[in-house]
């Protein structure tokens, strides 16, 4: 945060105070959409020392702010007016909540004189969002704005990060007052783990014969990436990752067994089922990762490292709970020297035997091969944002990533339509990165309006649209678990996506054959400005392996005809 020189109190309005508070927090971009109740703040934004990005839907603003927060590691900010503007933020706020992303969402509210009267565009957004925010405020006095804003940012970014809502009635943003700026908060540093707990965990690792690291999104959120990698290299313990943990160690690291869970790799899932000590680092035993919980890691004792005490024991009671700063925890555990040669060989042999193959027959575009090629060719400068569906799982399975910030995906909420607005936020957060939104045809249509945002700000975001003219993952489940009774998954009446992009002023090309892939990858990585590559893929291609719901992770279906 930049140092702010103390200035004598001077008259302001509530709206100008909000803008100054954002500037004092070091905000560089905010994402939003104006409307009646937030007009005074939009008036003050004209003189703001930071940039406002106008999205074309408030959901786009919230999802862009989410991605901005993930890439910068700091707070993403979104703005909307009252009523529908505020409710349109809800999906993005929930997305940030489920994935522990630091966000401040500011909503205009109807004037205090009419609050509670069902006034035009009045909703209780404070109440609506209560289950999906870390905290929230309704401002009742403009003099409270400096402290509320300071605390909102502090809460959003400290401990386990999350979204904070600030709802401000219009008349308070218009009212003149003299803001008094509070001192920055210095509390909230992550507590150190207990030495006793760490020593117990250390002894457990030393004594384990088949230990396994299970890395989640918390590794990156805690800034523990470097220490985690030292832990892996020092101990030689194999690693599985959650969807959000991808990149905690490079995907091409010899000890990386890949993602675990419903669409995890065989090597990862077998390792979990066979390990005798599961060392969970910043993960939360999510049902997509564990499969049937009481058969998850059935032979293992559990070490659980997390900043959030409520996550430890929430779903699986660990024998060795370690609550506190992950950076300190992983640093301490790096001193362990378990004898894992035989176990490691077993894991690596399975990894070799069950490696994904990319020699699918036919001339159709094989999406897994395309995604692997794209991510390999791009290297460390790539940021991929995903929509939700089969393409998302293919990215997780086949993408090559060096760090978690390269792979932005809606893990907890599973928000279709995340990819494009997230790419906008990511590109602004890291302008030098090559940002590629990998979209499905169903998801893409959910926030297609944000093509106008790309055009307006001339962002060089690339879009790889994998079009199977289906809601592919739903179709796959209907094939596997509903006796091939396909219900409302046909999207064969999709528009011509290249022409849609063209209408927004975005260059586009359509590819249909495998021999066009190399050129398309080259274009995605080397074209100046935005580009949409529309890739038609086989609608019968599915994501394998698949752990059926209610089964343990050793039960992995493969290649069921669909």
């Amino acid at each position: 945060m930049p140092e702010v020189q103390p200035t004598p109190p001077s008259p302001s309005t509530g709206a100008r105070t909000v803008v100054e508070a954002l500037a004092r927090e070091g905000v560089r971009h905010v994402f939003g959409y104006p409307g009646g109740a937030i007009m005074p703040i939009y008036d003050a934004l004209i003189d703001a020392p930071f940039v406002h990005i106008l999205t074309r839907h408030e959901q786009g603003a919230a999802l862009a702010a989410d991605a901005y927060g993930r890439v910068t590691g700091d707070v993403g900010v979104c703005l909307a007016t009252s009523g529908p503007g505020a409710t349109n933020l809800v999906t993005g706020i929930a997305n940030a909540y489920l994935d522990s992303v630091p966000m401040v969402a500011i909503t205009g509210q109807v004037p205090t004189t009419v609050m509670g009267t069902d006034a035009f565009q009045e909703v209780d957004i404070f109440g609506i969002t209560m289950p999906i925010v870390k905290h929230s405020y309704v401002v009742r006095d403009p003099d409270d704005i400096p402290t509320v804003m300071r605390d909102a940012f502090h809460i959003a970014r400290s401990g386990r990060p999350g979204p904070v809502l600030v709802d401000i009635p219009k008349d308070l943003t218009q009212r003149e007052h003299t803001p008094i700026w509070p001192a920055p908060r210095t509390d909230g540093a992550p507590p150190p783990p207990s030495q006793e707990a760490l020593l117990a965990a250390l002894a457990a690792i030393e004594g384990a014969q088949r230990p396994l690291l299970y890395a989640g999104g918390g590794v990156a959120l805690a800034g523990a990436l470097e220490g985690f990698r030292r832990l892996v290299d020092a101990t030689g313990i194999p690693v599985v990752t959650t969807l959000k943990g991808i990149g905690s160690i490079p995907t091409d690291h010899p000890l990386c067994l890949g993602m675990l869970g419903m669409h995890g790799t065989r090597a990862a899932n077998y390792a979990v089922q066979d390990c005798d000590l599961l060392i969970c680092v910043g993960a939360r035993f999510d049902d997509r990762a564990t499969g049937k919980l009481d058969r998850f890691a059935p032979r293992a004792k559990v070490v659980h490292l997390d900043i959030d005490p409520a996550e430890v024991g929430k779903l699986r009671r660990p024998e060795y709970p370690v609550v506190g700063d992950l950076r300190r925890s992983v640093a301490c555990l790096s001193e362990a020297h378990p004898r894992v040669e035989k176990w490691r060989e077993t894991c690596l042999e399975r990894k070799r035997i069950h490696a994904f193959r990319y020699d699918a027959p036919g001339e159709d575009i094989y999406a897994p091969a395309l995604l692997r090629r794209l991510t390999e060719a791009a290297g460390d400068n790539l940021v991929v944002t995903c929509d939700v569906g089969q393409h998302q799982m293919w990215v997780a399975q086949h993408g090559q990533f060096q760090r978690p910030q390269q792979h932005l995906t809606s893990g907890g909420l599973g928000t279709m339509g995340y990819g494009l607005p997230a790419a906008i936020g990511a590109q602004l957060a890291d302008p030098k990165a090559t940002t590629v939104a990998v979209c499905g045809d169903g998801s893409f249509m959910m926030n297609v309006q944000e093509l106008a945002t790309l055009r307006r700000y001339r962002l060089p975001v690339k879009i790889l649209l994998l079009d199977n003219a289906q809601l592919g993952l739903v179709r796959q489940w209907q094939a596997c678990f509903f006796e091939h009774r396909f219900s409302e998954v046909d999207l064969s009446d999709n528009p011509d996506f290249a022409r849609v992009a063209d209408a927004f002023g975005i260059p586009a090309r359509t590819i249909t054959r495998r021999d066009q892939v190399e050129d398309a990858v080259d274009a995605l990585l080397h074209t100046d400005g935005p580009l949409l590559v529309h890739a038609r893929i086989d609608p019968r291609a599915n994501v394998w392996p698949l752990v059926p719901p209610g089964h343990d992770n050793a039960t992995m279906l493969e290649e069921i005809p669909a």
Binding site: F126, M130, H135, S136, V138, R140
Partner: protein, 78 residues
């Protein structure tokens, strides 16, 4: 089976709703809630009885302790 909890809660807008919401969403329907302002008037002492169900009430206590408005939460021994 009823789990009995006590909380010290800052008297902020929405604080009571947050406590009720967390209890219900985490699988512990609220049986009764007694709220008394402290002498300072800036916080509440809350006695909360919830259905324990099959979930460990300690987990609910930890969820409540995370709320910004909650200064303390624990099981009650009355």
């Amino acid at each position: 089976m009823i789990a009995k909890l006590k909380l010290s809660l800052r008297r902020n807008e929405g604080a009571l709703q947050r406590v009720l919401g967390v209890a219900a969403r985490r699988g512990h329907p609220v049986v009764s809630m007694v709220v008394e302002p402290t002498q300072s008037g800036t916080s509440w002492d809350v006695s909360l009885d919830v259905e324990a169900g099959e979930r460990d009430p300690d987990r609910l206590v930890r969820q409540l302790q995370k709320l910004e408005d909650v200064d303390a939460a624990s099981k009650r021994l009355d």
